[in-house]
């Protein structure tokens, strides 16, 4: 096969696999930022913190990293509920979300990053489960399990979240609380309780994405910086509150970023995230897959 064509096909396939990881990171944000309108800029930092927890605990217990990520997810969900309780008490209740609330999440992000530097040092950490060295070959196309399995686990988790949001009463209440908290109150549902639960789910998803992240690439405390641009770009492109839009945007984004990296050099991939974000904000703020408000 033509080498350029082979590079292109490989770029598309590994971009789709990378997109699966981005989808996991961004779908948690689609719940908190998209549905609850809480601008959690600490989301990628929580993801990296979960990655470190997976490395530490998974290494100590000898468990598979992705299984470990599912085990730490409930702990992170509890942490998220705690963060939301503080956020609601000090900011949301007083109507101070815009300036002070944003500064609060920035402070949380900063505390997590510096805390990780103090606990683990600034160097890179990584994990190599046994299956990570296997690569499946389909003709010219390589499919490394290191990329495939995290992507599949991420997409499965998103599928479960989608079912939960579509089929259960609490899931429907989460979708409803963003639109009309007052109406929810009339149905004898406490909107604050629903939002706390939803925020917990969102942070739990950050933990699953963190587990997938440590398998795909080495992490360091500052790894979340590039993810801020990526996940917000994906979330906004996907139309904010839509999980299916989020997955499609993440896959597309993964392909574009990966092709840029293979044809122009990997140092340009952070610029892709920012360029897309600016482009989307300037041209289609309702998202690629969203409807005009």
């Amino acid at each position: 096969m033509d080498p350029t064509l082979s590079l292109l096909l490989n770029g598309i396939v590994s971009g789709l696999l990378l997109g699966g990881l981005y989808a996991a990171a961004a779908s948690g944000l689609a719940v908190s930022f998209g549905m609850l309108d809480i601008v959690n800029i600490a989301h990628p930092a929580l993801m990296v913190a979960a990655g470190f927890a997976v490395i530490l605990l998974g290494g100590a217990l000898g468990l598979d990293p992705l299984l470990m990520a599912l085990l730490v997810a409930p702990a992170f969900a509890l942490l998220g509920m705690g963060i939301y309780t503080a956020y609601h008490h000090f900011f949301e209740r007083r109507g101070d979300e815009a300036l002070q609330g944003l500064a609060f999440f920035f402070g949380v992000m900063f505390i997590i990053e510096v805390g990780l530097v103090m606990a683990f040092g600034p160097e890179q950490r990584f994990l190599d489960p046994d299956w990570a060295f296997t690569t499946w070959r389909f003709g010219e196309i390589d499919v490394p399990l290191r990329m495939l399995i995290p992507a599949l686990v991420s997409l499965a988790a998103i599928g479960l979240l989608w079912l939960f949001l579509q089929r259960t009463f609490i899931g429907l209440a989460i979708a409803a609380v963003a639109q009309d908290a007052q109406a929810l109150r009339l149905m004898a549902v406490d909107p604050v309780r629903i939002k706390r639960l939803a925020f917990g789910i969102s942070v739990g998803f950050a933990a699953i994405a963190g587990g997938a992240l440590v398998v795909v690439q080495p992490i360091e405390p500052s790894s979340h910086h590039v993810f801020i641009g990526r996940v917000f770009a994906v979330c906004i492109m996907g139309g904010m509150a839509s999980l299916s839009g989020c997955v499609m945007a993440a896959l597309l984004f993964g392909v574009v970023e990966n092709l840029t990296a293979s044809f122009f050099g990997p140092s340009w991939s952070p610029a892709v995230a920012f360029g897309w974000l600016l482009l989307v904000l300037a041209v289609r703020p309702q998202g690629l897959f969203g409807r005009a408000a």
Binding site: L99, A103, G107, V114, L277, L278, L281
Partner: protein, 322 residues
């Protein structure tokens, strides 16, 4: 604005402005004289450290404090100033003063561009964009060999500057003048029509728009001015340190401090950022001597979270409410 205002308040306003400039000059001169009497090189060094944060906090406050639009990318704007100074030095051998002017222009244009693309939307989009802007600028600088890439760039400082006791004193006085100017500009904005318009945007943007406040134009002016002043804060940095690398120029400390200082002092007042900057920067300068820099920054992060939760109007607001 004095053309449309009534004569009497305009005169009172002029007098209030004059008293600020005289008072600030007196404080600045007293500070310079006191440090010269102290005669310690470390005094200039520590003084510069505190004053650069006064400029940075005052700059952030123009958009963040008055209009309520949060800029997370202060480190990016500052580094734009620092690296403009480096480019001017490398290409034409220009010194610190042209570097400051160039840094103001480049960072101001950066603010205008970012603002033009994102300020038409809700404030959070602007905040997210500024957060990514710093990451992308850092990528660009790391890949740009002319300014040293990730290795960094050196500036050969003159040993002495005519009229000054030492180079340290010279660079301190430059920053002192910049701090007086930056705080004065912030104060002028607060008392002008621009400031009133920005405060209307912060309180209720839709209502402001409805009564005819040109919201987008005011936000763009504030964003450009704020960005330019951040560039001004960063431009003397390579001349002060003699060396700059991307890691230092885009240091997290700038991003967190530029937000923590105005909010802790009292955002939306011209004095608040000064109080916050002097307090936090002095604390950090004292703490770096005794504890590690990571722990030091960690404390700033906690202070930010605790202050915005418990004292949302900062130290100034707390005193006013009593």
């Amino acid at each position: 604005m004095s053309a449309t205002a009534l004569p009497a308040p305009a005169v009172a306003g002029e007098r209030r402005h004059l008293s600020y400039w005289l008072g600030a000059t007196a404080v600045a001169v007293a500070l310079a004289v006191a440090l010269r009497l102290l005669g310690n090189e470390y005094g200039w060094y520590a003084g510069y450290f505190v004053l650069q944060y006064v400029v940075l906090a005052a700059a952030w406050n123009i958009l963040g404090g008055y209009a309520g639009y949060v800029n997370f990318g202060a480190a990016g704007f500052m580094a734009a100033g620092s690296y403009t100074a480096i480019v001017l030095y490398e290409s034409m051998g220009l010194g610190v003063i042209p570097g400051i002017l160039g840094g103001a222009v480049v960072a101001g244009l950066l603010g205008l561009g970012t603002g033009y693309l994102t300020l038409r939307l809700r404030g959070v989009y602007f905040s997210i964009a500024t957060l990514c802007l710093a990451v992308v600028l850092q990528t660009l600088i790391v890949n740009w060999d002319y300014v040293g890439g990730s290795r960094g760039a050196y500036i050969i400082r003159p040993m002495t500057v005519p009229g000054f006791a030492s180079y340290g004193e010279y660079i301190f006085i430059v920053m002192l003048v910049l701090a007086v100017l930056a705080v004065g500009i912030g104060r002028t904005v607060e008392m002008s029509r621009l400031g009133t318009g920005l405060q209307a945007i912060r309180d209720n943007e839709r209502a402001a728009e409805a009564v005819g406040v040109p919201t987008l134009r005011l936000k763009l002016i504030a964003c450009t001015l704020s960005g330019a002043l951040m560039g001004v804060a960063g431009a003397p940095l390579p001349f002060y340190a003699g060396y700059i690398n991307p890691e230092g120029a885009f240091n997290l400390a700038y991003a967190v401090n530029s937000i923590a200082m105005p909010l802790i002092g009292g955002a939306g007042t011209w004095l608040g950022p000064v109080i916050g900057a002097v307090l936090l920067a002095t604390l950090q300068q004292a703490a770096t001597v005794t504890i590690s820099s990571a722990l030091n920054l960690w404390i700033v992060g906690w202070m930010l979270v605790i202050f915005v939760a418990l004292f949302p109007r900062g130290i100034i607001g707390w005193f006013r409410n009593r």
